[in-house]
Symmetry: C2
């Protein structure tokens, strides 16, 4: 008997019909012989609705109370999913974070898992009861409700899979799996059957919405086999697992893009130590996340310092930088919030030279100007003007011959 | 320092503006020197919304899961109310049933309170923190969420008041207090300053929506002083307390009415023992509540057996009775679902003869036919045709001179 964790996201439990379909899917896997523990998100839109109630009430809603408020969303979907299973003739039982219990630290709204008690879940499985666990939430040592941050239900599922030593953690979502590029942009985008944790982590961090990066990292660290698959369609989805040393790797596995980016440049900063922290300190203090950072030293002893932020933080960030100009002795602040980031990812590029060149050539042939470049061992990211997004993704997808699944050299 | 429990119903916390007003009211009482524990219902409409989700999903939703589902409503309003107090600069902390904990028996959807742990609430009060407790919910010995049935937040507040030995349990609602009759029907209806538990219990059971009868009973049994008052307007509301033997009682304190009634008569039942249970057994089995029961023995050795049910149960009940006709040897089933019940209540009528006569005369003068009569020590109820409701209530209100607050003899 294999033990699978099934995680269903907000869209998958977004209506009573969808919840019935989820119950049907769980039932089918149960009949096929799998032991199943279900983890659910809140119904689509519910977390946002609750969050705005809190935000409308208070400029700075207390994090403890936000957690009480938000966790009600998963409470509702867990109860409904258990009812739907019961209606199909399967014994099921909902569990809230505190009932498992799923113990976290005390950092409200961004808690980290500390320990998951598996006794009740195991008793249920032994008694042929399907546990339905509310994702996203836990309880701290003081008995307060905590939540683990947005997208956290993926991580809840992985944490439960790790605690139960499950055979597979299946993330049911609204796509069929992980693709070589966004199928809405690239016609020939191909679903990958297997992808490594490292690649998935880069893809997730770079804008692929399929899986939360934290869940990927947690799974890799705790040895949980992940599978992303559709809760709407049949299919085996994409398996995310450890890189097989014997497996010949394509140079590039997939292309990710992020569209909600913005770029800021402080022009003419004197090239002295401490400039970066003077610029980024106040940005971090404002809880603005910085992604790519590039610094070019000019010939006149000054430097241009450029970084990217999420588009929603653009105005705030620009305001902060303008206030720093005088202290910095810099000339100006420039910005552009019509940019996107396009990245190629693949463990194969470790051992292959020329990936960057091939990517840059593909862009040059389409006359797409590269504004920023950032690289890691298994990915290359470029920032380009927003209007070139589709063209860039398609041309890169083509140059690495991702359509046919052949190994590009 | 006095300790008050404040209970705010669904309308009082029905919007963010209303929740802000609730916080303002609590703050005002706090500033005036009261220690306050707040108990809240779910936002108006929310319990119904959640309930119908469950009912749509399952013909017979599991009671355990319904409790998980429904309790999310009070969870949201408790968190929001705590946030609103925090926003006003008052320290507040929400508590769900399991966090207090409020321990109940295991009867899901109609649990009874067993024990309320007061340690955390007292610690909060000592530290000038305002506890905001989610009404309606508790936890059973097995760690499952329970709810105490509809209207249960009133009872939650009373139970907490009893456990904390509070000076007063203040039920904030959308009316100014308890009236001698429904002010929407009787212009001269007068707000009572004091009413006895017994009278309040009769009024509540007879259709006055102000307080849940169970809460009144709990308060009487545990010696909790109740006060009903408006969360929208200023005013001292109505105090509900023990009958003062020295206080001269008006014969009739108030008039209640219930409009969602229906009447069923089994005609020509042979007058033999066991008939009543043969008729009412199947009705009870269908979970239909029976209110008034009247049986008249005819001259021909048969009897007419009449009882009232809630209007929503009328069709079901009629169907059940029709199926019994043959077994009973009865002639026919008649019914009327356009009836109402009007009741006069007053502890004073114990020692005064002639109350019934005066009431019946008032109705006769308006040519209102009395279809059924039922009496207790401190109330008289009649069933009349629905169309006479307003006329009946007004004429009875007048005959007992309730407008001016004088003692009617």
């Amino acid at each position: 008997m294999t033990l699978h964790i099934h995680k269903y996201g907000g869209t998958s439990v977004g209506s009573l019909d969808r919840i019935r379909a989820v119950a049907g899917n769980v039932a089918k896997r149960r009949d096929a012989g799998d032991d199943v523990v279900v983890v659910v998100s809140a119904m689509a839109g519910e977390t946002n609705r609750l969050e705005s109630l809190g935000q409308e009430l208070s400029d700075q809603p207390k994090a403890r109370e936000m957690d009480v408020l938000l966790s009600a969303g998963e409470q509702v979907s867990a109860a409904l999913t258990a009812m739907a299973l019961d209606q199909l003739g399967y014994r099921a039982r909902s569990y809230l974070g505190w009932q498992v219990p799923i113990v976290t630290d005390t950092n409200h709204m961004k808690a980290r898992f500390e320990c998951i008690e598996t006794k009740r879940l195991k008793e249920d499985l032994a008694a042929s009861v399907i546990p339905v666990v509310a994702g996203f939430q836990g309880i701290d040592a003081g008995g307060d409700i905590t939540t683990v941050g947005r997208g956290g239900s993926d991580t809840s599922a992985v944490a439960i899979a790790a605690a139960l030593n499950a055979d597979e953690c299946r993330i049911y979502t609204d796509v069929d799996g992980v693709y070589t590029a966004d199928p809405r942009i690239v016609d020939g985008a191909r679903k990958m059957e297997v992808v490594s944790f490292e690649e998935m982590l880069e893809l997730a961090s770079l804008g692929s919405k399929v899986l939360h990066p934290r869940a990927v990292e947690y799974a890799a660290n705790s040895g949980v086999t992940l599978r992303v698959l559709s809760s709407f369609n049949e299919g085996e989805g994409t398996l995310i697992t450890f890189e097989d040393a014997n497996m010949e790797q394509p140079v590039v596995s997939g292309i990710a893009h992020a569209i909600d980016e913005a770029k800021l440049t402080v022009v003419g900063v004197p090239d002295v130590p401490g400039v970066a922290s003077t610029i980024l300190g106040p940005i971090a203090d404002a809880s603005i996340e910085v992604d790519m950072i590039v610094q070019n030293i000019g010939s006149d002893g000054t430097t241009d310092f450029t970084f990217t932020v999420k588009r929603r933080d653009y105005d705030t960030a620009k305001g902060i930088l303008s206030g720093l100009l005088k202290d910095l002795g810099a000339r100006d602040v420039l910005g552009d919030n019509a940019i996107v980031k396009v990245s190629v990812v693949g463990v194969g590029m470790r051992s292959h030279a020329g990936v960057a060149t091939r990517m840059f050539n593909a862009l040059a042939e389409e006359n797409i100007n590269i504004q920023m470049i950032s690289t890691s061992e298994i990915k290359i990211s470029v920032v380009i003007a927003e209007r070139y997004l589709e063209l860039a993704v398609r041309s890169i997808h083509k140059v690495f011959e991702l359509e046919n699944g052949d190994i590009a050299e």
